[in-house]
């Protein structure tokens, strides 16, 4: 389930509870971050010694402190809905009671291995130690009874299919990166820019809901464990998100989102460049409103690089997450396919969080150490079509006993195997023009009236109001009918990919020769993490689609404020949608 963008609704619901504040007058981040590591280490050692005398005793404890400095500016229709930021330090205490073979994190008890709280904002050793003590003691009081329960359950239940231990053995890590790079940030200037950009939607009466969001997060992870690991590693996330929403006259919701990602705010595209993309996005939406609804179709399809990247992230990437190979309730699509062909042999897939940028574009899934303190590694997942590896955390499963540095989470949640930068590469490529030519040939060969070109696929679940069934994991938004007879391409709306999306992977016949990047944020059991997906355009000989089930909501009854008495008002009354002003 990738939720590859933030909708204003999500932001709105959380707005009061966390992120947005008007001043960031908190103490400046400590100039010596490793001072914190020292305090954490001292307190961890004390906890280890003291709790060793208990029964059942923990065999592993780690402290992770996320020092986060965040800014969010949300604009809509030329005014700010929210602007602010703040600093917080979240401490996660992870505790494992029992043995690596069987501990309190077993199966559905996994959440008992973690407890979280807020740490003081500066490095007052007594105060920091005291809060860590409170959290550790509280966590022990959860973890120890949980372990006893696990032991009892394991004794009475039938034997599990995968008898892998609950925790892998890894080498201790010692690594301290430089603290988060400072960069200049002028709040008022950015507020003005967000206002100006969001005001562009005022020109489009049909796009009744829109937002421009700037998100900046500077984070520093300090990690210590009783295995003598000490890791300190920073990360930054700078995103500018643009989104617009409308509804077709038949009630179908239409949403377009554009995300720009950079390492610093200054590296974001220029205002004029973003403004141009907003115009394009708005024009897309206006065109989509009027576009015919998709018809059921089974035939050739061409995916743009971005669309293919999202498709792979959703359809393949999530199924290669390690913990899905042992969960009793998981589909385990790939668990037993190691060393078998799962893709055409000209395709290879890696997940490489160590890549900071590709062709000059920053990759959102970059990190040096994962949230279990393990070094990021390039994982060769599929090699020339053959499945070789999974995205692994420190939760072993049959045949895979080690972490490859993909244990990721948001603060407060137990890490699981997650994607970082998922990169699809191909040895059978064609240039853009050639690819289109092959696409049209394929349409003709199959005697189809048209093929479908997927220009953009939004991430899967959008967390709006609809709970989509599990099989609908991708949401194509810009889809064109491509006619073999030379007619211009025709935009259609409401396309849903059906059947088993996985089966479609076997039908990839050739790819483009340029890799495109999708930067986003991915949500799953272990929370939201930044990710990238990279892929070339792809030609599918066969893909099955249907018309999306639609809501009964109608477009707004009255014209937007400011458009009374304009042609928009007149046009609106002529839509014949059954809604009469």
């Amino acid at each position: 389930m990738m939720r590859s963008h933030l909708l204003p609704r999500i932001i709105m619901s959380g707005i009061l509870s966390f992120s947005l504040a008007a001043s960031a007058a908190g103490p400046a981040p400590d100039s010596k971050p490793d001072a914190l590591l020292g305090i954490m280490r001292t307190e961890l050692d004390r906890a280890k010694t003291a709790l060793a005398k208990t029964a059942p005793a923990p065999y592993f404890i780690s402290y992770s402190v996320y020092d986060q400095d965040q800014v969010a500016i949300v604009g809509s229709y030329g005014a700010l809905l929210a602007s602010g930021g703040g600093r917080r330090r979240t401490a996660d205490v992870v505790m494992r009671v029992g043995t690596p073979a069987l501990d309190n994190s077993h199966n559905e008890n996994r959440p008992t291995a973690i407890d979280s709280g807020l740490l003081p904002l500066d490095n007052d050793p007594a105060a920091v130690a005291r809060v860590l003590w409170e959290l550790t003691d509280r966590e022990y009081k959860r973890a120890s009874p949980a372990f006893l329960k696990v032991k009892t359950n394991t004794a009475v239940r039938s034997e599990e299919e995968d008898k892998s231990p609950d925790f892998s053995t890894e080498k201790p890590q010692n690594h301290v990166d430089a603290a988060v790079a400072k960069f200049p940030f002028d709040t008022h200037q950015w507020e003005d820019r967000v206002r100006r950009l969001s005001a562009a939607f005022r020109k489009f009466p049909d796009i009744y809901s829109s937002a421009v969001i700037l998100q900046i997060s500077k984070s520093n992870l300090s990690y210590v464990s009783t295995e003598d690991s000490s890791v300190e590693t920073p990360s930054t996330l700078v995103r500018l998100i643009v989104q617009g929403e409308t509804r077709a006259d038949d009630g179908m919701e239409l949403l377009r989102v554009e995300t720009f990602q950079a390492l610093t705010p200054d590296q974001l595209p220029s205002e004029s460049e973003v403004a141009a993309r907003i115009e394009k996005l708005a024009a897309d939406l206006v065109a989509l409103r009027k576009a015919p609804a998709a018809e059921p179709f089974d035939g050739p399809a061409l995916l743009s690089g971005r669309a293919a990247a999202v498709f792979f992230h959703e359809v393949l990437g999530h199924r290669l997450e390690g913990h899905r190979q042992r969960g009793e309730n998981e589909g385990q699509t790939f668990t037993k396919k190691v060393n078998q062909e799962v893709l055409p042999e000209f395709l290879s897939v890696v997940d490489d969080p160590t890549m900071r940028a590709l062709n000059g574009t920053p990759l959102a899934g970059w990190y040096r150490y994962d949230d279990e303190g393990e070094p990021a590694e390039r994982a060769n997942l599929i090699d020339n079509g053959i499945l070789k590896n999974f995205l692994t955390s420190r939760m072993p499963f049959k045949g895979f006993s080690q972490s490859n540095g993909h244990g990721r989470s948001q603060p407060g949640l137990m890490p699981t195997g997650r994607q970082g930068n998922l990169i699809v590469s191909s040895t059978k490529t064609a240039g853009d023009a050639d690819l289109r030519k092959q696409f049209i040939e394929e349409i003709k060969k199959q005697g189809k009236p048209y093929g479908l070109y997927f220009e953009d696929i939004q991430g899967g679940f959008t967390l709006t109001t609809r709970a989509l069934p599990q099989s609908f994991q991708v949401l194509p938004v810009m889809v064109w009918r491509v006619y073999p007879d030379g007619r211009p391409d025709e935009l259609v709306r409401g396309v849903d990919i059906v059947g088993t999306p996985l089966a479609a992977l076997e039908h990839i016949t050739v790819t483009g020769d340029k890799q495109e990047i999708f930067n986003g944020v991915c949500g799953a059991e272990s929370g939201w993490v930044p990710v990238s997906a990279v892929a070339p355009a792809m030609l599918f000989s066969e893909m099955e689609v249907q018309k999306r089930a639609q809501t009964h909501s109608r477009p707004p009854i009255l014209v937007p404020p400011g458009f009374e008495g304009t042609s928009a008002a007149a046009a609106d009354s002529q839509t014949g949608s059954g809604v009469k002003p």
């Binding site: 709105m12 707005i15 009061l16 947005l20 504040a21 008007a22 007058a25 908190g26 307190e43 004390r46 906890a47 003291a50 709790l51 208990t54 809509s76 229709y77 030329g78 005014a79 700010l80 809905l81 929210a82 602007s83 602010g84 703040g86 917080r88 003081p120 904002l121 500066d122 490095n123 007052d124 050793p125 007594a126 105060a127 920091v128 130690a129 005291r130 809060v131 003590w133 409170e134 003691d137 009081k141 206002r195 100006r196 005001a199 005022r202 020109k203 009744y208 809901s209 909501s553 109608r554 707004p556 009854i557 009255l558 937007p560 404020p561 400011g562 009374e564 809604v579 009469k580 002003p581």
Partner: protein, 575 residues
């Protein structure tokens, strides 16, 4: 502002629309064709008076509300759904600073500015309408800025959503009313007269950041009290301005600032019993905040009482007899047992009760001793020099506040009610209150308990001892302050022999309920205490000490948590 002007002519359009001429024009469009007479057209009376328009003209939020509510009332129409008979808008503008410290160090601080809108659209009529389930309104964020067009945009979308929900809500309500028999027919909504009142905007008058150090200093006192397990100090300063408009022509703006400081400290006795102290300040004016030294001293006192509580004996023996509640504890009892039960909240459709509270069937019955009268008076701004945060001139439904005698010489005379009628109470008495973005429900403003059987504190203590003496008890109980669910936090035995007070722990009151208050309250103190209550809706209770002649005190059977599995870290020198 200059930057935004470059957008395009839309901003100018917005400015035009927001002004009254454009609004008036919009309304003219919907008026019946004028007769041939040169006299003003026989259009419906304008929604807002000239006074309202003039008053709202200087405020972008009010302008946006007026423009959009008038347009919606005039034009909202969907096939198969009636036109609205009533629309209301409320925008709550919140400016809030929060911070907290623990163990001597700042842990969190934030300054939040948000505007939250709520739109209610009703179809049907006052006797039966669509205010039911999804028809109870829509809440959303509104722009923080005074941009009329952007404000209208959010109001427009929320109004559209709210209106579209009315059809199904109305149908559901009607079908439900066909299924159930209604004993007493009560209207769904009470009309109210138009009210126009634009009060000055309220701002935060205290700098929250100046309190960060006192918060740290107070929470650092754990160093002197090694047995205290946790301590957290916090502040919340809030300026809330509420904008309100409805299609009856009401247009109001009012504001309120509140300032709270909190101390929460806890420990465990050697036997594991959880002991908590949580003194706080909640005031309606920055001038009434304590001095920083006083705040730190209060934290010290709280920690000292925790130390004393750890050492205090447990209440083992059951006791039944006189108990004296200090005003601080009495305020809580009053708020919980009276304040919560005098609200005229309409019960679920089909229910025969008058309200949802314990006093649903107590109208005109005795609910308190006859020496007690209870009045809720939101119009009173202060009492004995303390600002009352439950005060307001008009409520969150735009209805003028009135003083209501709730209990007259012990007899329940009135409920506090908003615009949702209950049996025998067809109209609002100005107590429709709402949290930001929430529905209006009846709530207290300033709830006063007045007593004609009042005694001094010394007199009450003497009476307590005398009563114990008469019944042969070695001691009586005095409760200074309460915790959750009216359980005592600071409870003392007052020994008959020499009058000395002995702190005890681990007790609860058995059956401290409204019946107890009615039958066993025998006297009150003569010094009412103002207690501003923290919550989503501001309210104040003002009550003196209570003396009960017959109340049961027994040992709590709450589970005792385990002690820490290892000791706290040793104290190190402060940063």
């Amino acid at each position: 502002m200059t930057r935004r002007r470059c957008i395009n002519l839309l901003v100018m359009t917005a400015a035009l629309l927001a002004g009254s001429p454009a609004v008036a024009r919009a309304q003219d469009n919907t008026a019946p064709a004028p007769a041939t007479s040169p006299a003003p057209p026989a259009s419906p009376a304008p929604m807002f008076s000239a006074e309202a328009r003039a008053a709202g003209a200087s405020d972008s939020v009010l302008q946006a509300m007026v423009a959009e509510i008038e347009r919606s009332k005039a034009k909202l129409k969907m096939e198969g759904v009636q036109t609205p008979y009533f629309i209301e808008y409320r925008i709550s503008d919140i400016d809030s600073a929060v911070a907290n410290a623990t163990f001597g160090a700042l842990q969190f601080e934030q300054h939040t500015r948000a505007r939250i809108l709520r739109v209610v659209v009703r179809i049907g009529d006052y006797t039966q309408d669509s205010y039911f389930r999804q028809g109870e309104g829509v809440a959303d964020l509104a722009p923080n800025e005074n941009d009329v067009l952007a404000l209208r945009q959010q109001l427009w979308l929320a109004t559209d959503r709210a209106y579209k929900a009315t059809g199904e809500a109305y149908a559901a309500k009607q079908s439900l009313s066909k299924e159930i028999t209604v004993d007493h027919s009560v209207n769904d909504f009470a009309p109210a007269t138009a009210l126009v009142s634009i009060e000055p905007l309220v701002k935060l008058e205290a700098d929250a950041t100046k309190w960060h150090k006192p918060l740290e200093n107070a929470s650092a006192l754990y160093r002197k009290h090694p047995d205290v397990q946790s301590i957290s100090t916090s502040l919340r300063f809030t300026a809330l301005n509420i904008y309100y408009a409805n299609t009856e022509g009401t247009l109001t703006r009012n504001g309120k600032a509140t300032y709270s400081l909190n101390i929460v400290a806890s420990t465990q006795a050697a036997d594991g019993m959880r002991l908590v102290r949580s003194p706080f300040y909640m005031v309606g004016s920055s001038k009434e905040l304590p001095a920083a030294d006083k705040f730190v001293a209060d934290a010290e006192t709280a920690l000292e009482t925790l130390d004393q509580l750890r050492a205090a004996p447990i209440v083992d023996e059951e006791y039944r007899g006189p108990v004296l509640f200090d005003a601080d504890a009495a305020d809580d009892v009053f708020a919980d047992l009276i304040g919560a039960n005098i609200l005229g909240a309409k019960p679920a459709p089909g229910a025969t009760a008058r309200t949802t509270g314990e006093f649903a069937s107590s109208y005109k019955s005795r609910v308190l001793p006859d020496f007690v009268t209870v009045v809720d008076d939101p119009t009173q701004k202060s009492f004995q020099g303390n600002s009352l945060i439950g005060s307001y001139d008009f409520d969150d439904e735009g209805v003028r506040a009135t003083a209501v005698t709730v209990v007259d010489k012990g007899t329940l005379a009135n409920y506090l009610i908003g615009r949702q009628p209950i049996r025998d109470f067809p109209a609002s008495n100005g107590h429709g209150r709402a949290a930001a973005g929430g529905p209006a429900t009846p709530y207290i403003g300033n709830l006063f308990l007045r007593s004609t059987n009042a005694m001094s504190q010394a007199g009450l203590k003497k009476k307590l001892i005398d009563m114990c003496k008469d019944s042969g008890k070695p001691y009586g109980y005095f409760v200074e302050t309460l915790g959750d669910q009216l359980s005592p936090r600071l409870l003392y035995r007052v020994w008959v022999s020499d009058g000395h007070e002995e702190l005890v722990r681990g007790a609860v009151f058995n059956e401290l309920d409204s019946r107890e208050l009615r039958n066993d309250l025998i006297a009150t103190g003569d010094t009412p205490l103002v207690r501003n209550r923290e919550g989503n809706i501001s309210g104040t209770v003002i009550a003196p000490a209570f003396l009960f002649d017959d109340l049961e005190v027994k040992r709590s059977d709450a589970a005792k948590p385990k002690l820490p599995d290892y000791p706290a870290p040793p104290l190190q020198s402060a940063k």
